[in-house]
């Protein structure tokens, strides 16, 4: 059966009589991605895992985790407190500690298991890898049950039934999910923001219909901000996050009843059946005693849907898990997505680098030869852009200046890199002996002509290698643009790796794609160095 039939009570969520969709993985929360290089580290980690796999070991570190947890009297749970209300977040009264409904749940659960809970911070989309590495005993962080994860890990029985909530501008045309079934203003599709690779993402893409254009955000509140800004028409959110953050966005209203649903579960390593059973028993006691209900009520999370918790077991979830394709077949199935994302990456870099080079040249010339006020201003320009993160600059362009994502992405990269290019050009220009400028001036050239005809052409030869270097760096930095809804290659990797469990396969495929795109750049650079070096030797001086 396709659906969790029997587990799935009739929901108020959809316009038609279709059964509710099975929901897919998603990072539920307000996820400000940590620095993007972490993602690249993730790729590396993926490759490292491949090596481990090749060695043929099915990782089940340490025989009996439950026994160890009890003897050490510590149950380590992996979670990410970064922007994660109401799940786990810094305690406002004691910011060094965490609070949230999952924190309290773990306190009770650990007690049931016979240990003390210990929180271990991890990046959200890497938590299961931390579990693999034996750094934590369990993962709990709004991770929903999915078939793919069910294959690779042991899932506990659900501890929460979550639903999706549409949020739209108060008093606007969208008052419920069904309003999206008709064309938007002027026949346009509705632009609906979702957390990338979340259940809402899957739901909107599969169930949105022809008039819904899905816009993917890296953080739950980012999508809400975009609706408040008028950049998109509505956002579909996990109900708990929507409830937690609704006060922060008074201009948004809940549009209609929740739609779709899914289950949060706790994941254990595949070999830890005893630990999983202990956790299931603990959850059962918390559910039966009503402790779980009172916990959820304290957080305003209790609703009728939670009644289902008593009937769900981990076995019922697992009953339907079956293995999907792996290896090359998996990559082949998702190749079109990877290629689309590569295209986004190429357009972003090819669009922004020439601009960065032009702006950088102007800035370098201004810093070297401009009047004093211009020099001071441009020094400030370079220092500010180099000294602040690209991601922040993209946020400013997208959320404050409200530029369209493509414009913000290309402009952000161009402006950010122009500061680096400017410094490279400055170094290149300063490497040209003063006698060259003097000789040009003595021939009656103006300063600007001397720069154009004599100084810059010589400097260009010097700066080709470092500029190529930057081009390749920019090429990979395009991954930061995922914070402004552009799904480029790294983001696509992250999405696919998480939704299919093909961490290793997609790490390899993505790395190959990056290499396939950056190596020709290096070739081009060496070719142009040779060509420029040789052009003079052949003469052709009148050009």
């Amino acid at each position: 059966m396709e659906e969790n039939a029997g587990l799935e009570p009739p929901g108020p969520e959809v316009c038609s009589a279709q059964p509710a969709v099975r929901l897919r993985p998603r990072p539920f929360r307000n996820r400000r991605q940590a620095v993007p290089s972490f993602r690249r580290l993730g790729l590396l980690a993926g490759v490292a895992l491949l090596v481990l796999n090749a060695a043929g070991c099915d990782r089940t570190p340490r025989g009996d985790t439950l026994a160890r947890v009890r003897s050490a009297h510590t149950l380590v749970y992996g979670s990410d407190q970064e922007g994660g209300g109401p799940y786990i977040y810094p305690n406002p009264e004691s910011p060094r500690e965490v609070t949230g409904f999952e924190v309290e749940l773990m306190k009770s659960l650990a007690h049931e298991v016979g240990a003390a809970p210990k929180f271990a911070q991890g990046q959200w989309d890497r938590l299961l890898q931390n579990l693999d590495a034996g750094m934590v005993d369990v993962v709990i962080n709004g991770y929903e049950w999915t078939e793919e994860r069910g294959r690779d890990y042991l899932a506990s029985r659900p501890y929460y039934v979550y639903q999706l909530q549409l949020m739209a501008p108060r008093g606007g045309r969208i008052t419920e999910w069904c309003d999206l079934k008709a064309p938007g203003p002027g026949g346009r599709p509705w632009r609906v923001g979702v957390l990338v690779q979340s259940a809402a993402d899957t739901f909107a893409a599969e169930r949105g219909g022809p008039f819904v254009e899905v816009v993917r955000f890296d953080g739950a509140t980012d999508a809400m901000t975009a609706v408040a800004n008028g950049q998109i028409d509505a956002t579909l959110q996990d109900l708990p996050a929507a409830q937690f953050y609704r006060d922060r966005f008074p201009s948004l209203a809940f549009a209609g009843a929740p739609v779709g649903r899914g289950y949060y579960v706790i994941y254990c390593r595949r070999g830890d059946t005893q630990l999983r059973e202990a956790i299931d028993r603990g959850l059962e006691r918390l559910i039966d005693s009503g402790d779980l209900r009172s916990l959820y009520e304290r957080y305003g999370l209790w609703n009728d849907a939670q009644g289902e918790l008593t009937t769900l077991s981990s076995a019922s979830l697992h009953a339907k898990s079956q293995s999907g394709p792996r290896g090359l077949a998996l990559i082949r199935r998702y190749a079109p997505l990877l290629l689309d994302a590569s295209f986004v990456t190429v357009v972003l870099s090819v669009g922004s680098m020439p601009l960065a080079m032009l702006i950088g040249l102007a800035v370098a010339l201004g810093r070297l030869y401009g009047p004093a006020p211009v020099r001071v201003a441009l020094t400030g320009y370079v220092e500010i852009l180099r000294g602040t993160p690209l991601m922040l600059q993209l946020y400013v362009l997208f959320y404050l200046l409200k530029l369209p994502p493509w414009v913000a992405g290309i402009a952000g990269l161009a402006i950010n890199y122009s500061a680096y290019e400017a410094e490279i050009y400055r170094a290149g220009l300063q490497a040209i002996p003063a006698g060259q400028m003097e000789a040009a001036l003595a021939l009656g050239m103006s300063r600007s002509m001397a720069l154009r005809r004599v100084i810059v052409p010589q400097a260009v030869r010097i700066v080709i290698p470092p500029v190529t270097n930057d081009f390749i760096a920019l090429f990979k930095d395009t991954s930061v643009c995922s914070v402004i809804t552009l799904v480029e290659l790294t983001k696509q990797y992250s999405i696919l790796a998480n939704s299919t469990g093909g961490v290793v396969e997609f790490a390899v495929a993505t790395s190959v794609l990056y290499m396939a795109m950056s190596v020709p750049l290096s070739w081009f650079s060496r070719w142009s160095e040779r060509r420029l070096g040789a052009s003079g030797a052949k003469g052709g001086a009148l050009v």
Binding site: L443, M449, Q458, G536, G539
Partner: protein
Amino acid sequence: MSAFMIETSDLVKRHGSLEVLRGVSLSVRRGEVAVIIGSSGGGKSTFLRCLNGLERFQGGSVTVDGLCVDAATTGSARSAVVRQVCRSVGMVFQGFNLFPHLSVLGNVTEAPVHVLGLAPERAEARARDLLDRVGLLDKVHAMPRELSGGQQQRVAIARALAMEPRAILFDEPTSALDPRMTAEVLSVMADLARDGLTMVVVTHAMKFARQVADTVHVFDGGRVVESGPPDQVFEAPRQEATRLLLAETSVAA
């Protein structure tokens, strides 16, 4: 039209508290070859660079071919006049300063095409004539780095001549060359002098000064201490500084 091609009056140049030029008044007639000698640090090169605007100065004035720049001229007015001056007065540097990214031909045609607006074919024809004159017609397509120092300096002279200047300033043109290459370059310069080109030459080549100069000026401590025809300056120096300088160079030679 003034008989003087170049005229300075009371030229003062300071680097901070250091006075490099302490009131230099000197004039060069049209067609005259003026040679400036003097020990190092005497202000010779600085003086030359003040003539075509490569250096600014703090007092006095420079008049070149009727164009006057004084210490008070600044900003765009100054750069406009200086550019005019540079169009009519060429310069040859100690370090040649050829454009390394351009061929020999490119070096010689660059300014005529882009500054004077000459048609490329005409500029190239002129460049070939000039390169023939300095004996480098076979190097037209060579790159500067492929040439010896003497050849490079001859290209630099051709480059200056291509602008059809009224005068050329030579800033120690042979100081970076060995004796054989020095001879190549000096013979080209002597040739130009015979043709009546106005030349101001800063040099340590005393023999050249003696044979080619119309007037020799001796710089010492930022002043012109003695001026006169070469025979008089070399045979009967009136100043102690000149005598010392000549004694040093003859010992050195």
